[in-house]
């Protein structure tokens, strides 16, 4: 888990980098059904390497678009708040992450 998630600021350059990577990832993988395969895409892996600063952007897209950032959020934060009972239900999976993020001081 990152040490100080509260009051993170996302720079414009970080947001632009994330948007560019996410666009390429969507273009190349949105027809796939395997989350493991989609998250193995180089752009997705690069988003993970952006680290904790990208988390608010992932949370925002998760909330607004149900973006499949579950692997990335787990890889960056080191936690997985999704209960097995929610497996595959994307809105419930998203809400589990958003609830965890609120409880841990994230803003997005």
């Amino acid at each position: 888990m990152i040490s100080n998630p509260v009051k993170q600021k996302v720079s414009e350059s970080m947001e632009a980098r994330f948007r560019s990577l996410a666009e390429g990832w969507h273009r190349d993988t949105d027809h796939m059904s395997s989350m493991d395969a989609a998250s193995a895409h180089p752009a997705y892996q690069e988003i993970i390497r952006l680290g904790s600063e990208v988390v608010p952007l992932l949370l925002r897209d998760l909330e607004e678009n149900h973006g499949h950032w579950f692997h990335a959020l787990q890889a960056i934060t080191g936690v997985n708040p999704i209960p097995v009972s929610a497996a595959g239900n994307i809105p419930k999976m998203a809400e589990a992450w958003l609830t965890w993020a609120r409880h841990n001081g994230y803003q997005w």
Binding site: H31, S33, M35, F70, A87, G88, N89, I90
Partner: protein
């Protein structure tokens, strides 16, 4: 129904056999369900035997393996049994499983009562199409047909 050109261009780039135009986009993109769910008449869950049990739904009694055998067992939990052709049969519902050259499942489509096929393309749109028109680099080819009585 999405009818503008942008999704069609993207779909035809991914699936070149669609370029002849014999398909219809029947829903907008939706990240909440995928092809396997749609074949199973479930538009509320994302089905796949991924490594993490918290991230994708898969029938509990079936091994979480990306193999044709595991997908066959998953559809058998819904009453499907293997059959030898994709032709329309009255009172019968069929699904077609696609796998790549390595035998890894990539997609499933479901036959409609008019003999056409319906597919959810990952997070992308639903389309109505000829079953062979999704064969190619992305989804491989049809490797298994299964059927069950229509309800």
């Amino acid at each position: 129904m999405a009818t503008n050109g942008e999704p069609r261009q993207a779909l035809e780039a991914l699936f070149p056999r669609l370029k002849k135009g014999d398909y219809q986009i029947t829903s907008s993109a939706d990240p909440k369900y995928n092809c396997i769910a749609w074949a199973a008449h479930d538009s509320s869950n994302w089905w796949w035997p991924g490594a993490d049990v918290e991230k994708e739904y898969w029938p509990a009694a079936v091994a979480r393996q990306a193999t044709v055998a595991a997908f066959q067992l998953a559809f058998e939990t819904l009453g499907f049994v293997p059959c030898d052709h994709e032709l329309l049969e009255a009172g019968t519902e069929k699904i077609a499983l696609f796998a790549d050259h390595a035998g890894i499942p990539q997609h499933a489509a479901r036959q409609l009562e008019n003999g056409r096929w319906t597919s959810k393309l990952g997070k992308r749109e639903d389309i109505e199409h000829a079953v062979k028109d999704l064969e190619g680099e992305q989804y491989g080819s049809v490797v298994l047909i299964m059927k069950r009585p229509r309800t």
